[in-house]
């Protein structure tokens, strides 16, 4: 069953030198529950595509629909997680940041205002994301990895059907990146949500996704490849490395 559908999207940026075409006649069907990664060289329009599909920007023409209804602006059902560590609110604790999607009123963030079912949900999400011990911390006291965990937890608390991730682990050090990738897979399996993941890291995409949308250079041409590697995946196995090299040559034909 398809959850997110893009129908012949066109998008161009207006620049001084005329307009720069990013997408031309782009169509895509995303299946409910699938993990789709978008890869390509920087400047190819990956992030633009994600912002289009999530409703943050509008296409020049074409239609995007989530569960059959057209996306005209960002939806709560499609939660975006950004690369920027600064996406948390510094004046709120980890727990309050996570509660924000539903308890946004500045005055109702006191403990009593949270419904018991939501309190249970927060506890469960904190547990799942490994943040239970950090609930009272403020963002400035957290490492980059913990900040991105909190952003993931906040998105989960909004109870989305689809998660849009824009290079969320791009600024992390290697060990935290692997940790967060494993966490994301755990969340995906447990919560059975659809995930759309933008990255420029081919091995990350190959490790995580069911399908890979590969932008081949900056022309806006792309191809969708299925990822047949069986889970759990081993980054050091022969087939994994072979697929990685293949994808490299697709993105950078030279």
């Amino acid at each position: 069953m398809s959850i997110l559908k893009a129908d012949s999207l066109h998008f161009a940026y207006d620049l001084d030198k005329g307009n720069h075409k990013v997408l031309e006649d782009f169509s895509l069907d995303i299946e409910s529950g699938e993990f789709l990664a978008v890869i390509g060289p920087s400047g190819c329009g990956k992030s633009t595509l994600l912002r289009l599909l999530s409703g943050f920007i509008r296409p020049g023409s074409g239609k995007i629909s989530l569960n059959g209804s057209e996306v005209l602006r960002p939806e709560r059902a499609g939660q975006m997680i950004f690369q920027d560590f600064n996406q948390l609110f510094p004046w709120l604790t980890v727990e309050q940041n996570i509660l924000f999607p539903r308890y946004r009123s500045f005055f109702s963030l006191g403990k009593k205002a949270v419904d018991p079912p939501d309190r249970m949900r927060v506890d469960e999400i904190l547990e799942l994301t490994g943040l239970t011990g950090f609930r009272k911390y403020r963002p400035h006291q957290l490492s980059g990895g913990l900040k991105q965990r909190t952003a993931l937890a906040r998105a989960l608390f909004a109870d989305p059907q689809i998660l849009f991730l824009d290079e969320p682990f791009g600024s992390l050090d290697a060990p935290s990146r692997v940790e967060l990738q494993n966490l994301l897979l755990r969340v995906w399996k447990e919560k059975k949500r659809t995930v759309l993941f933008v990255t420029h890291d081919i091995s990350e995409a190959l490790f995580l996704a069911d399908r890979l949308l590969v932008f081949e250079s900056r022309s806006g041409r792309f191809k969708v490849h299925s990822n047949s590697l069986s889970r759990p995946r081993d980054r050091h196995s022969g087939p994994f490395r072979e697929r990685k090299l293949e994808l490299y040559s697709l993105i950078d034909p030279d």
């Binding site: 975006m80 950004f82 600064n86 996406q87 609110f89 510094p90 004046w91 946004r104 909004a158």
Partner: protein, 251 residues
């Protein structure tokens, strides 16, 4: 406060030495003891306390409408960008104007009364408030606005739960500037206006002492002004500032 004690004592000592040198007439340069005595007397009659309360009441009474108006203007400029250059021009024109320069016009328009002092103080704090709140709103990172959009915040929620807390450091800086501006404005307005007005703030207190050639009293009034400024800076502003710098350090 403890660190300030030694320089404070040194100044007092220097003052006493200067006084004892007999270089200045006691009529223009009284001894510290005479000033202290006069302050004690004014405190006992309640005159000084009433003057302080009067000036403070005017400042606080001006802060509230100024804050509301400044928030509204900044929100308007932020939400509807086409208003921004207009309000900017207005603030650039009016902000440098000393409030006292408006005194005759204000009297002409609104008549005599304590409200004149309030209006002058409002003029002196409204623009620093506005300028700081506006720059605070403008510096809110785009990713925070995206999170707000993603969760479909209403206009009110976006204002109260995002814009205001996000720009708290700048809002607070505006309050701090406004506080010192307000003191200057209220004291000078009271001095010029106090003789015909109903009120007797600290400015009027000092001015009154001059009329009766009570030099220690004049010194006392100025010292009280300095002490209030020092106390507010140390007890209120500094601790809040430290807390802000701590919490907002990452953004």
């Amino acid at each position: 406060m403890k660190k300030g004690l030694l320089p404070g004592l040194a100044v007092l000592l220097l003052w006493q030495i200067l006084f004892m040198s007999g270089f200045f007439s006691p009529l223009v340069f009284p001894s510290p003891l005479a000033v202290a005595e006069s302050l004690y007397g004014d405190l006992k009659t309640g005159e000084l306390v009433l003057s302080i309360l009067f000036s403070l009441a005017i400042i606080l009474g001006s802060f509230l409408p100024s804050l509301i108006l400044a928030f509204f203007l900044a929100w308007l400029a932020f939400r509807y960008r086409s208003f921004d250059p207009w309000i900017e021009k207005l603030s650039a024109l009016v902000h440098p104007l000393p409030g006292i320069a408006l005194l005759p016009l204000l009297i002409l328009w609104t008549g005599l009364g304590t409200h004149i002092i309030v209006l002058i103080v409002i003029h002196s704090v409204l623009w620093p408030f506005y300028i700081n709140i506006r720059s605070g709103f403008r510096q809110v990172p785009g990713v925070w606005l995206d999170v707000a959009d993603n969760n479909r915040l209403s206009e009110g929620e976006r204002f109260l739960s995002l814009l205001v807390p996000a720009s708290f450091p700048q809002i607070f800086a505006g309050l701090k500037i406004g506080w010192s501006r307000a003191w200057r404005a209220v004291i000078s307005a009271e001095m010029i206006f106090g003789t015909i007005g109903s009120g007797g703030g600290l400015g009027w207190f000092i001015y009154n002492k001059r009329i009766f050639m009570d030099t220690p009293g004049m010194y006392g009034g100025v010292i009280i002004l300095m002490l209030i400024g020092l106390a507010v800076e140390n007890l209120l502003f500094r601790s809040v500032e430290r807390r802000i710098a701590y919490v907002y350090s990452q953004s």
